[in-house]
Symmetry: C2
Subunit: 128 residues, 2 copies
Amino acid sequence: MNEKLVEILKFNDQGLIPAIAQQHDTGEILMMAWMNLDAIQETLKTGQVCYWSRSRSALWRKGESSGHIQTLKDFRVDCDGDTILLQVHQEGVACHTGRRNCFFYSVEDDTVSINSDVIVAPEDMYKK
Amino acid sequence: MNEKLVEILKFNDQGLIPAIAQQHDTGEILMMAWMNLDAIQETLKTGQVCYWSRSRSALWRKGESSGHIQTLKDFRVDCDGDTILLQVHQEGVACHTGRRNCFFYSVEDDTVSINSDVIVAPEDMYKK
């Protein structure tokens, strides 16, 4: 493991760091998830993004069952060492709802609207 | 307060939600910070981004002392309601180190390099 990286990173009480995934060439923010040290090591080693699933308490190899993988292009860390930015190429869609990205609720005044379309039917998300 | 928004949002045990700030026209990811309900309400009401400072346990009106304010362009929430995306116009620089954005550590193999320049000298950050 990269020693300088370990010095910089600040994990929270659960041993996790939030990681933002951004499509490297368009700047689109795809999703935010969490990584632990194992997920970080695997991501840097394989070049395929792996998160930590808080609901399953297990490594979450993004796209493993759906094919919607994220290939790492650049791994960035912020000034405080407590947030990661993953610049990636997203295969297919990032969101479990079948949308390209997870940030589809748009809030204005007293309304919440949905601003993007479902590209892959949710029931087809995990049929490879 | 927008009732539908309150239904969607999921705060953590500390009553906070992570918020990503992105420059609305270039896609640059500027920083990640935290918001509580008061910070969200103030941001939506004023159109100027306000976070919750975990170190000071106080509302953090971004740019209040430095002039490096963030003007809200779009307020997005993700599929799970546990992450906010603020599309903003950043005046000056987002990072307390005087860099445009906070994600200046780039990690590759065994090296960590710094990939952006200081634009404002840190000692000048809070002299308005």
